[in-house]
């Protein structure tokens, strides 16, 4: 007897593609991507303008020194690495991208519950986990396309605002940033989807997801950032005190316990791991500026692994937790 039932893989792909088509049809993907592109390019352009302003200030100071017959080496020339201008884009993905992913996850659950199609789908010969897997794959695809467009748009704009073209090494760094970003956004999508699927009403799930977003994406990194002594003083406390590097390290060693606690709060957030990895791979963090990709990958393997395992763990949790039969509709 021929097998008339669809395979699980086929069903999963059908549901994932249907979700993608729906996101395209109601223009959610368009507006979400556009919002992220606008926020990211605004960051890029304002960053470039501020850098041009610094360069002009340096040039004026240097000219003045030379006119006075003094050595221009007395003032430090601003260093310029185009990928550093991506900092604002990364931070917009961290915060705005995360919200968009949460809302997309909410919509993936709310649409099915609101139209009463969730109960209908579950009458099909399809395991519940396969349905949830299809939704997560659909969300991952959405994140991949949306983030891909954002990164391509900013990469096209970068040479225009910086005057320096990007090489293959830069393209590789951007590709790794994209991959890490897709995992990060998938985590947020899964969170929004899972909570909106399990909650009494999808809107309650969205509120809970937003509250977790505030805690994980904003508050935890913010506490760590605020506790950083260098962020208590404009320009950094050691720079203000003009203390040499060796002495800085000695002083910092005396605050190891404080620093461990501060770092512990930061690394509890998946956002911080995404930020640390991308800041290193793009050379935004000074200690990694110009470092070869393989060296950065070796040193930041832990952050990438955390992102991967966290998304896997959260995805697994959503797959394992059964759908409550009493919560198949919009209001339960």
């Amino acid at each position: 007897m021929p097998n008339i039932l669809p395979s699980i893989r086929g069903s999963v792909m059908t549901i994932a593609l249907r979700d993608a088509r729906e996101q395209l049809r109601d223009r959610f993907l368009f507006w979400a991507t556009l919002a992220l592109v606008v926020a990211s390019t605004a960051s890029l352009v304002t960053g470039a303008i501020a850098l041009h302003s610094d360069a002009a200030t340096y040039a004026a100071a240097r000219d003045q020194l030379l006119a006075l017959g003094k050595d221009a080496a007395a003032i430090a020339a601003p260093e310029f690495y185009p990928l550093k201008l991506m900092r604002g884009m990364i931070e917009q993905v961290e915060i705005m991208g995360a919200v968009i992913a949460l809302v997309a996850g909410y919509r993936a659950a709310a649409a099915e519950r609101g139209r009463q199609t969730l109960a209908l789908i579950l009458t099909r010969p399809l395991p519940h986990w396969a349905y949830r897997l299809a939704k997560i794959i659909g969300g991952m695809g959405l994140a991949a396309v949306s983030l891909g467009i954002v990164i391509i748009a900013t990469a096209i704009l970068l040479p225009v605002v910086s005057g320096i073209g990007l090489g293959t090494d830069d393209a590789l760094r951007l590709a790794l940033t994209w991959a890490a970003g897709v995992f990060y956004l998938t985590v947020l999508f899964t969170l929004g989807f899972g909570l909106s699927l399990w909650a009494r009403s999808p809107a309650s799930g969205l509120i809970a997801a937003f509250a977790l977003w505030i805690l994980v994406v904003l508050v935890a990194p913010q506490i760590g950032d605020t506790m950083d002594p260098d962020n208590q003083v404009a320009g950094g406390v050691f720079a203000q005190l003009s203390v040499p590097k060796a002495e800085q390290d000695r002083i910092k060693a005396g605050f190891a316990g404080y620093e461990t606690f501060r770092n512990g709060i930061e690394v509890a957030s998946v956002t911080k791991h995404f930020e640390r990895f991308t800041f290193a791979i793009l050379g935004i963090k000074d200690t990694y500026t110009g470092a070869p990709v393989d060296k950065v990958l070796a040193e930041k393997r832990g952050d990438l692994l955390f992102l991967f395992l966290f998304s896997l763990g959260l995805g697994g949790l959503v797959l394992l937790r059964p759908i409550n039969p009493d919560r198949l509709t919009k209001e339960s």
Binding site: L215, P221, V243, Y258
Partner: protein, 310 residues
């Protein structure tokens, strides 16, 4: 009892039964509790670093600069309070604002309310009164916890003038979060789809908090939620001079951050507010505009619609 007061009481009773609202308020209260400790701990660490560095510089025969923190004002330990009000407090206000309309719509009570002998304006005013009381209660909780923690931290001498400044700061915090709550309330009244008010008001809040500071002063999103980093001068360039002049008056999060720094005594010396309009004007003006938007939207709400499947 006036109809608007009756509606406000009924709405507040509903809010107090809502678990999402209670969890958010508890979360807000918990963060207010750790605020003072965070500020105190960070200041202590910088002071200790300064003492260590000063000893080294003096030993090396180099000039010892003055302590760059120099925050002796007791209220400065509460510098994170403004950030938590603008993040958790504002989100709480947005949730409350949209729930005040959406709860009636989903429960199907709108048509019932429509049969009662009161004007739609009373309905709108009742909902806005409930929002104002709820956000006021959040600020009262923040005030009580802040005062209690200020008095428990050793070595802080709190004067009555400090408490007056804290009181004024909390009133402005109330105005700030209520503005976004009113936007959510108005948006929920205008858009019947589930969670539309929540999502649209959140978009406005995100743009105000994370996009406008980049345009006015190149302040990146993570810096914009750091109470010290966000208080940076406008970059010296023609572009930022124009954008800060044009967008400064609507950059409410920067206005609130500046007022926080000023009232809690951690504003860098000589730092001017963003744009030509003082923040003490822009915040109340924003509240007024949000009030008019919410009043108009809620007064035009379709009272015949509603129900779980709406």
């Amino acid at each position: 009892m006036t109809p608007s007061r009756l509606l406000a009481r009924q709405s507040l009773a509903g809010l107090m039964r809502d678990r999402s609202v209670l969890i958010l308020v508890a979360f807000f209260a918990a963060m207010v509790m750790v605020t003072a400790w965070l500020g105190w701990s960070a200041t202590n660490t910088v002071n200790a670093i300064y003492a260590d560095a000063a000893q080294y510089l003096a030993g090396a025969g180099q000039p010892v600069p003055s302590n760059p923190v120099g925050q002796s004002a007791p209220l400065a330990v509460l510098r994170n309070l403004g950030v938590y009000i603008s993040l958790i407090g504002t989100f709480g206000a947005i949730v409350i604002g949209q729930l005040l309309i959406e709860a009636d719509r989903r429960a199907g009570t709108l048509p019932l309310l429509g049969t009662r002998p009161f004007a739609r304006r009373d309905y709108a005013l009742g909902k806005m009164r409930a929002l104002g009381v709820a956000t006021g209660a959040m600020m009262a909780v923040a005030g009580l916890i802040s005062v209690a923690t200020l008095f428990t931290i050793p070595s802080l001498v709190v004067r009555s003038a400090d408490l007056a400044r804290l009181g004024l700061f909390l009133i402005l915090g109330w105005a700030y979060i209520t503005t976004f709550g009113l936007v959510a309330l108005g948006a929920a009244a205008r858009m019947p789809a589930t969670a539309s008010g929540l999502i649209s008001a959140s978009v406005v809040w995100l743009v105000v908090t994370f996009v406008l500071p980049e345009l006015t002063a190149n302040i990146h999103p993570t810096a914009s939620i750091n109470p010290v980093s966000t208080l940076a001068a406008t970059p010296d360039s023609a572009f930022f001079r124009v954008t800060s002049t044009l967008l400064g008056p609507v950059s409410l999060s920067e206005a609130f951050a500046w007022l926080s720094g000023d009232l809690l005594s951690f504003l860098p010396d000589g730092l001017a507010p963003r744009g030509p309009v003082p923040p003490l004007v822009t915040l109340p003006l924003a509240l007024l505009l949000a009030f008019l938007f919410a009043l108009r939207s809620a007064a035009k709400l379709d009272l015949t619609a509603g129900g779980p499947d709406a």
